[in-house]
């Protein structure tokens, strides 16, 4: 038996399972079709906001989307 670990999008994982190209996948379960796959939850993903210590939002317990500063990265 050999094992290959591949990186695929959630759409590609579902398609691969349906074509029987893949045996299993680890992906988001939010939008999966329960009838065609067996699902086992592993963990819940939480978002974290990283900022410089001492910055305007660093002392908060939680930040929400409207209060996040705009991204200044080059995208």
């Amino acid at each position: 038996m050999s094992v290959a670990i591949l990186s695929r999008t959630s759409v590609e994982i579902l398609a691969g399972l349906e074509r029987l190209d893949l045996d299993a996948g680890i992906t988001y379960l939010d939008n999966e079709t329960p009838g065609r796959v067996t699902q086992v939850p592993l963990y819940t993903e939480y978002y974290r906001f990283l900022c410089a210590a001492g910055s305007a939002l660093s002392g908060r317990q939680r930040v929400t989307w409207p209060r996040r500063p705009k991204c200044h990265c080059a995208c």
């Binding site: 939010d30 592993l42 819940t44 993903e45 939480y46 974290r48 900022c51 410089a52």
Partner: protein, 49 residues
């Protein structure tokens, strides 16, 4: 760039954003290897969150 260090602040929804898990084709019976993988995933998932 961050001489004073970084701070991680909770963001988004308190109950989490997405559930991540193992998915396999629904088969009956399941292959032995996938049955073992599903069993391991169930044990791992019970210990998380």
């Amino acid at each position: 760039m961050f001489a004073g260090g970084l701070v991680s602040v909770s963001a988004g929804r308190a109950r989490g954003e997405h559930v991540v898990g193992l998915i396999t084709p629904r088969r009956d019976p399941q292959t032995p290897v996938l049955a073992a993988l599903l069993d391991a995933a169930e044990r791992l998932g019970r210990g998380a969150d």
